[in-house]
Every structure is written in C-alpha cells, then in structure tokens.
Symmetry: C2
Subunit: 409 residues, 2 copies
C-alpha cells in the first residue's frame, strides 16, 4: 500500500565505519520476527538526540534524556518493537534501566553508555525477560553491514522498511551518512519521529552535533504527520563515529558543517517522507506548501490544519476535488485576523481559488485530473507576509481504520 | 447507524406560539427531497445567534451577522441544504442578499428582517433561481406544527432528524421550548453548530437573549465534536416569540432567567448530543469528562485532544481497550507542565490508570466489557486543580471514510 515507496536496496546502504548493528527474534510480542536491535559505536563517537514532547513520554525516553544529560559517552543503543514501555509507571522505568544494565554488562560499558528505545503497544508491561534473553543473540550478530536488517527489525505497522544513505566529501575526506526509521501511525512528530537513527563516520563534537540534530529534525521529521497523534516514544538520534578519519567539526561556523548538515537532512527527509508514504492505509502522498504567511509558525499552523483535517484527507482518498474542504481547514486554523479574500489555492499547477473564492477559470475536470495522481502538491498563499513552510502527509482511507481497529489483534 | 438515537416523535414536539415553519422541495442539489425551510416569527419576537469562527465563513453567515448587528427585528429565516454558499466570493454574497430580498418581498418585511442559512457542499455556486422558485411553496405551508418536517428539511448526511421539546413554568405561565438541528460531519462547532434553531414562546429582551444564547451554546453545541473540522456555516439561533403571554424577561437577574436558560440548554444539549449520536459513521457515543484541571480551557484542551485522536476513535470503533492511546492523547494536548504521574483514567466505573501507569488491579477483560457498550464515559483526572468540563464525541469508523469519500457523488 505504500505510496511510491520501494524497499531500500541493502547493497546501496553504505556501512558507516565505527557503527555495528545486530538483531534478534526475542518474541517480545510475536514469535519468529526480528524485534530487537542492538547498535554499538566505536570509542570516541558522539551521539545526540531529540525526543517526543508528549507529556506521557515512555520510560525509555526518560532514561535516554537522563543518560544524555549526564554527558557520558554513548556506546550502545537497544531498540525493541512490540511494546512501547509507555504508561507503565515505576516498573516500566525499572525495566528500561535493567535493559541498560544488562546490555552494558554484556558489552563491557557502563549502563549510562546505553540508550534504550521501545515502540509498540502502550499501557502493557514490557516482557523484560524475553528482551534480556534476546540481547546475546543480537550482540552475536553485530556487524557494519546490517542496516537493511536493522530497518526491518524496528518495523511495527510499517509495510516497507525505511533506510537511506548518502556519501559526501568533507574537504578531501569521503564520509558516509546512513539512517533508518520506522513509523506509520501515531505520527505527528513534535521534535522527532518514532524512531529515526542516522549515523555518519564524520567526526563532530557533541554540542555541535546536538545543534545539527535539532536543525535536521525541524526540516524533516518535524514536518510530517499521518494522523496528528504525537507518539509517546518519538526519538531521533544522530551518531557521528568519527571513524572516517576526517578531522572533527567542532564549530557550527566550520564550512563543512553546512555540507554535513545537508547530507544528514537529505537522509532524514527521505526517511521522514518514507514514513508518510508508508502511513497507515496511505494511498496518496501530499506535500502541503503554505506561503505568504507572517511567520513560519503561522504557516505551519495552516499547513497542519489542512494535513489533519479528516475531511480533506478522505477527499484525497476518494480522488474527489472537493477542494472547499481545504479552504475550510485554512479558515479554522486559528489565525484570527486572516483575510479570506486574499487567499489563493493551487493544486499542482491548477489555480483553484483566487482571492478566497472559486477561480472563474477553474474547471472541475482540472481538479479531478490532478487528484488522480498518487503524489499531489497543495499550495496555499495567505497574502500576509513572506514566511513559508512545507508539511508532508497522506490521505485517510478505509485501511487506516482497519489497521488501527485491529492493531492489537 | 445512529447511536441510541431514535427519530423524534412529531406528536411530542410542542408548537411554539408565534413561530411558523414551512418547507419546499426546491431541487437545490437533488430532486424530490425537502431542502428549503422558511420560518416566520410574530411581530415582537426577539432573535439572537452565534456563528462559526471559521475565517472562511459562508456568505449567509456574513449576512446574518450584518442583519443582527443592524438591530432590525428579525421576522424570517430561510434555510437551504445541498449547497453551503461558502468560498463563493462576491457572487455568493449577492446570492445571499437576493434570498433576503425575495423572501422579504413575499412576506411583506424588509430584507434586513430576514436571516439566510445554507449547508452543503463548499466552493460551488448557489443555484439561486431554484431556491427563489421554491420560496412560495415553502411559504404556502407555513404552520406552527411542522417542527418534525422542518428537522427533516435541514438534514444533509444526517441519518436521523434532530428535534427536542420542553415545557416549563415561568411563575404561573407555561412556556414551550422547541428546537431542531442538523449536522453529522465537519462538526467541531466553535461558537455554535451547523445548524441549530431553538424557539420559545417566552418573552425576553434582545440583549438578554444574546447572553442566554451564548451561555447555552457553551454548554451544548460548543462541547461536541465529530471530526474536529469547524464548519464554514455553523449557526445557532434562539427565537423568543413572547406569544405565551408570560411577561418578558429583561434582565439576567430575573429569577426566571435561570429557569428559561435551563430549559433552552436542555433542548440544545439534547440536539447537540443527537448530532454526535448521528455523527458520520458513528457506532459509539463517548462522553469525555476531564476533571482536576487548572482552568476550564485546560480541561477542554485535554478533552478535545482525546476526542480528536484518530487512534482513540478507531480503538472505540473496534471495542478494543487499547487505552494507552487515551494517555498518549492527554500527553500531547499541549500542557507543558503536566505531571503524568498524577493522572488518573477511568472508563465508566473501571479504574484503568492510577498515577500515570496501569492500575495494578486493572484487568483487560474489565476494559473490554465497558468497550462493548454503545455509550461510554471516559473520565480523566489531571491532579492539577478544580476545573472540569465535558465533551461529547463519537468513534471513527469505516463508514466515516465511505461517507466523506463519497459525499458529492
């Protein structure tokens, strides 16, 4: 069902020196599927992350924040699917900590050097015994060429694994950027998505990497939505192993920063858009561009109002150019002094509404022709300023309802 | 498909002295269905209204606001279905005004004494000729005992007409309160719903009636949501004909004000809940109660975050007690300093989450048992204060998608 999205070719996912991956079938929720991932980083790697703003954040998110705040060098990630370890109270916290202790023991690092991640059903106890029993199997498989298998391991309702890879030159040093992500529902990241991991063998100081991670998130994972439901477990992690031998970047003013940030953003945006293309039940991919806003925040508010409207999303599912619903979504976005008479609406190249009303030259068949595509661009001009933003989303189909009505069965 | 909602018994809808209703089959969108309603009020009646906050409000909403602001005595309402006259620019405004001119001419009142209302598809020109041609037929039917037919006339995707009636005593005067409403999708009223009309033969001054109308809306139509999409055409109108002979209420301090306000609110809340019970594709009716908030606004934000979550709504559709989704919706509601560890969650009488985590005594079968009901009460306690509010909503089903993917065909 994914919209114009093919599984990644594992042969095109570049290994990142200093980053190993291994998986296990731990049986967290279902037997005989990859559901536990371990990532290990070379000594000297820097790691930065951004996490969900949901106040019911999961226990592993709390532990990740603690470990990163302590400033310990992060050497290991442990990721399970099948259970979110969210809404699990004190025992959930204990389970997340126990995961770090055991992974640290097996790999010879401190518990604080381990970050735990969980994704799956909320409000159910984590089956800790099965998770811990799976760790040695995942560790036994650690290797640098398992990015494709890692992408499979972290899938839940995803129908296609998500991975992307780039090579770029920092001065004369070739460095690799490779990442994986998962997510198809409960997707409206607010800081990051559930879950994205991007690694590079470039070197970069911890503080500068944190800046790069935030800037990257704001141009990729923080601009997608499937259903407006910000997850309890969103996490986006960037790892810089430094193993390429390129001299480390220690300042945002280093001219190589922009080059690396662009490479990481390309990988992250590809992963983020892949999540939308594989959104639960998606049959259409929509790029929502809002221009001529006073501020980027205002543009984003309008874009999300469109992207979250069930009426807009079902119209796209039906390929029905019932485009007044887009204007209604603009009007309810909460901009009190919006002048509807200055609003323009375009669907791909078709000018649908001029100055707030149906364009005299607009013909239903033009709208219908665009709506037949699987990839559609909606552009709204507000006539208020020069700020703009873009949000990516998908339609709302019968399969979204089926998937979420059946998710646990 | 409506949830525990039967059509009103026309014999139990009390006529309101001084208020006549008549309908026609004008063929606005489809032939052979009631789609045009005229209401006429006795001289001396007072009328107050609240309207959508959507900035793309429809042309008739603009005209209603103008006529009410001019202070002219309102004598006539004209309501069409099949076309919203929204996103129609200058010609839409001209069509709304022409409707008032013609209705005024036929009934011998000024155009400013007429309020126009439209509901249906957005961004398409109003078929004014057919509407005007239908007016004499509707006027020929004007009578006080047509509330049931009027409720049918204003239906769009509604499956059940919505009407309610009460009789109450103001001192020794019996007065009647009867109302009708429509709406099933694009329902997240922000001031009022699309469309509600409540009439009483009590007398009340215009200024006090406006207060009563707003207070009533805030306890009825402004507390329901189907899909979070605030309509372009929401309108809630209260008419007080004064024809009961009860001395008019001219002050909010009059002890009869509270009695009348309660009667009107009961009718309005019944209508508002009827809209949710007949929400597009609804199979469940949920009452979302949020308590222990710092302010009513904060409680409402949390309640709407739950009520709008597609994941919560699909879980209810599936009768699946996947109740962590409710906690996730609480957590993403935007209360930055929410302490998840103080949050309690109840489903009817079942204590599901205690202090932010699964209650030790909670059993999945208890949740599953409650979820089987068609009427379910969700109660969230935030542990932050004493404010509370209640929001009514419905689930998200396959039929919602079908109805909105097929709406125009």
């Amino acid at each position: 069902m994914a919209v114009n999205l093919l599984p990644p070719d594992p042969a095109r996912l570049r290994p990142v020196a200093g980053v190993e991956l291994g998986w296990a079938e731990a049986g967290i929720r279902k037997a005989n599927r990859k559901d536990l991932l371990v990532m290990r980083f070379a000594q000297g790697a820097t790691v930065a992350g951004v996490f969900t703003q949901n106040r019911f954040c999961a226990a592993p998110v709390v532990v990740c924040r603690e470990h990163l705040a302590q400033g310990a060098a992060i050497r290991v990630l442990v990721v399970n699917t099948g259970n979110a370890n969210a809404g699990t109270g004190a025992s959930g916290m204990a389970d997340a900590r126990a995961t770090c202790v055991e992974a640290g023991r097996l790999l010879g690092v401190a518990p604080e050097a381990v970050l735990p991640f969980s994704t799956g059903v909320i409000l159910e106890p984590l089956p800790l015994d099965r998770l811990l029993a799976g760790l040695p199997h995942a560790i036994a498989r650690l290797a640098t060429d398992r990015w494709g298998e890692a992408a499979e391991t972290i899938m839940t309702t995803d129908t296609v694994p998500k991975a992307a890879s780039r090579q770029l030159m920092l001065d004369r040093h070739a460095v690799n950027v490779t990442g994986i992500a998962k997510g198809a529902g409960m997707i409206r990241p607010d800081m990051a998505t559930m879950l994205g991991f991007v690694a590079t063998d470039a070197g970069i100081s911890g503080a500068v990497l944190q800046t790069l991670t935030r800037e990257t998130a704001d141009r990729s994972f923080n601009r997608i939505t499937v259903d407006g439901d910000t997850s309890t477990n969103d996490s986006f992690i960037v790892i810089a192993s430094g193993a390429s031998g390129a001299p480390p970047i220690v300042s945002r003013d280093d001219p190589r920063y922009a080059a690396l940030a662009q490479g990481v953003t390309e990988v992250a945006a590809h992963l983020a858009q892949s999540i939308v293309r594989d959104g639960e039940g998606a049959t259409k991919f929509m790029e929502i561009v809002v221009e001529q806003a006073r501020t980027v925040e205002e543009a984003a508010r309008v874009a999300y109002s469109i992207a979250h409207s069930p009426l807009v999303k079902t119209a796209f599912f039906a390929s029905d150019p019932n485009l007044g619903r887009i204007l209604a979504a603009v009007g309810k976005s909460g901009i009190d002094d919006l002048d509807a008479g200055r609003v323009q609406l375009f669907l791909n190249e078709v000018w649908v509404a001029r100055d707030g009303g149906r364009h005299p030259a607009y013909r239903e068949e033009d709208g219908a022709r665009v709506m037949k595509n699987a990839d559609i661009r909606v552009c709204v001009q507000l006539g208020r300023g020069n700020a703009a933003t873009t949000v990516w989303t998908c339609d709302l189909s019968h399969d979204y309802v089926s998937i979420n009505a059946d998710y646990r069965s």
